[in-house]
Amino acid sequence: MNTTTNTPTPRRFEAIVVGGGPAGLAAAYTLAAGGARVVVIERGDWPGSKNMMGGLIFSQPTGQVIPEFWKEAPLERHVTRREMWLTTGESVLKAAYESTDFGAEPYNSFTVYRSRFDKWLAEQARAKGAVIITETLVEDLLMEGNRVVGVRTGRPQGDLEADVVILAEGVNPFLAEKAGLSHGLKAESLAIAVKEVLALPREKVEDRFNLEEGTGAAYEIVGEITNGIPGTGFIYTNRDTVSIGVGVILKDMVDRAGEAYALLERFKAQPQVRRLIQGASPREYAAHLIPEGGYRGMPKLYGNGVLVVGDAAGMVNAAFTEGANLALLSGRMAAQTVLKARDCGSFEALTLSHYGELLERSVIMKDLKTFEKMAPFLSAHPHFFSIYPELASAAVKELLTVDSLSKADKMHLIIKLVKSQRPTRKYLKDLYDGWRAFS
């Protein structure tokens, strides 16, 4: 049963990419465009079928991989307004930025269903000559000594060799662990995100979010909604749906016996959120882990015959909730490295270290280094998600409430309120710690 009578001789590939998400597909596209023989092995039904992300992709990094992608790619809306909300449960303090520049080519960012976008990206890679294999699980790496020489899939006659293997296997990098590059997952460097996609007619999306036809908005929400657990909520407008979700640090959530789905329900019940999504019917529910270990949490990025990209390499900038564009860029850099290594005819770690150099010089590592202390800082300062939003909100409320108090009296009241919450030295310490963590 395992053998067919006319089993073809397998082609020899130069590169195997494990995982058909943004990182893997960017690598495959770049390799194929550079003339390398590359195969992508994806476990899902199609590339993107395992991708839960429904959020933003950014023009600049995506355009580096596929120039002017917005002309053909399946996109939902181009984002012209970003909002940051600080919530207390009762009130919301909002900061918004809106730009007409964001509404014209080359745009700034788009809302997408990642699953559709990745399927399209896979088609582009295939058009360049990449071979895409789906519904196939890579179970193990083929090793010769400390050198990766191929992969073992769960298919009959499932071993495949290549000069180099690019691991784009996602947040749970079990092959990178086997290759001795990663030390596995740690709860404190993982966030869990739960998301719902809610169907709402196109006109209602545009009315409720105050959008012109085709434009979109992205909201990030901090404060009471995560119940004191470090994390954020988000709302993205798609064509005729709204993506809404919450992401929190896994360890903090477990420590506080929180439940991610309960946080999302709490978020949706917030009055200012509730009216945006009223009457919308649920279409999808998804939960996913996000590696937020930052620079410190990254594995070794290359070895003999192997490179690690995307989520598997911890390429997520939690501060700006960016992951997919880091994934794309890291995939592209890994591919550029392989193309160079191909010219030298060597795929040893020393040659592949070029990938590390490209990354170091790139915006990815610069940003990740800047924010490397952020996750531990926020875990240690959970009041940033409770006391501060409440204080800011209370202060503004006091100022906006017209009663018999003079404005000067109100300022005194606000200062008193601030002092009553925490001793002054603690504010100074927060300020100092914050400055240390973010500078």
């Binding site: 067919t4 298919r155 006659q157 495949l160």
Partner: protein, 278 residues
């Protein structure tokens, strides 16, 4: 004997995810992923088995009529080690009912057969979106082939006698049939287990083209195609009434023997004939 099989496959909406609009009664297809009609995969498996059993020289062609996106379905079938894939796509075919579909597919199969004689046309027993089960028999008729429908088991091909023997599923039981080649078969899910395609087959499929044929590539009376050639009129689409819950006999407080007796009583009460297998 070198058998040439032509498999007919259809891309269908994943009906496990399709909902019905309660007002209009029509299917809400928007955003529903497309899949290969599950019964057609059993047709693919049957063709692969024949090729293995009959040894060297056999070949398999897969054909689908549908929109350009149906290429995806054909790619998937190529991944099983099928030799050739043809997508029959043209606006002229749009809106076809089962009758018009058989005219288009039969014309395409005649063209395939002109280059390499066809011994078997293999279809799934029905599609999960239309559920009519008419295309396979229609093809047999138009192509002048013998037909065996609802096959639940294949005995095999006897090359010397030029026949195929197969078990046909009936409402009560099954029957063993012998049919002269060339024959058209429709396959049920009980006929075989679909294999897990090998990695070399999957990789080889990437190099195989999906040939695209339009109405200009086949010889056919155009008035018999598409909406024009489709006499079927849909009068009404409606969701079937929700089935009432079956009777539940609570056995918790009684012994297993009591429970069994209770079930027996109820069954004989309803006049069921109890045929014991022996």
């Amino acid at each position: 004997m070198a058998i040439h099989s032509v498999i007919c496959v259809k891309q269908v909406p994943d009906t496990t995810q399709v909902r019905i609009d309660p007002d209009t009664g029509s299917l809400i297809r928007q955003g529903i992923p497309s899949v290969i009609n599950p019964f057609d995969l059993h047709a693919v498996e049957a063709a692969l088995k024949f090729r293995e059993e009959q040894g060297e020289g056999g070949s398999i062609t897969v054909i689908s009529m549908g929109p350009p996106q149906a290429e995806e379905t054909l790619r998937k079938v190529l991944g099983f080690g099928v030799d050739r894939a043809i997508l029959l796509t043209d606006r002229a075919f749009a809106g076809a009912d089962t009758l018009a579909t058989t005219h288009a597919l039969a014309a395409a199969i005649r063209k395939i057969a002109a280059a390499e004689p066809v011994d078997l046309v293999i279809c799934g027993k029905q599609s999960i979106d239309g559920d009519t089960g008419q295309v396979g028999p229609g093809l047999a008729h138009r192509l002048g082939m013998s037909q065996v429908t609802y096959i639940c088991g294949l005995v095999g091909i006897d090359p010397e006698a030029g026949v195929i023997r197969a078990w046909r599923q009936l409402e009560k039981g099954r029957e063993l049939l012998e049919a002269k080649l060339p024959a058209a078969l429709t396959i049920t899910e009980n006929c075989n287990r679909i294999r897990y395609a090998s990695l070399p087959d999957l990789i080889a499929a990437a190099d195989k083209p999906v040939e695209v044929w339009t109405v200009d590539d086949i010889e056919v009376d155009r008035t018999k195609l598409g909406l024009k050639g489709s006499p079927t009129r849909v009068n009404k689409i409606f969701a079937p009434p929700v089935r009432e819950r079956g009777e539940v006999l609570v056995a918790a407080e009684s012994s297993a023997a009591d429970a069994a007796a209770k079930v027996m009583d109820r069954l004989t009460e309803q006049g069921l004939e109890m045929g014991l297998a022996g």
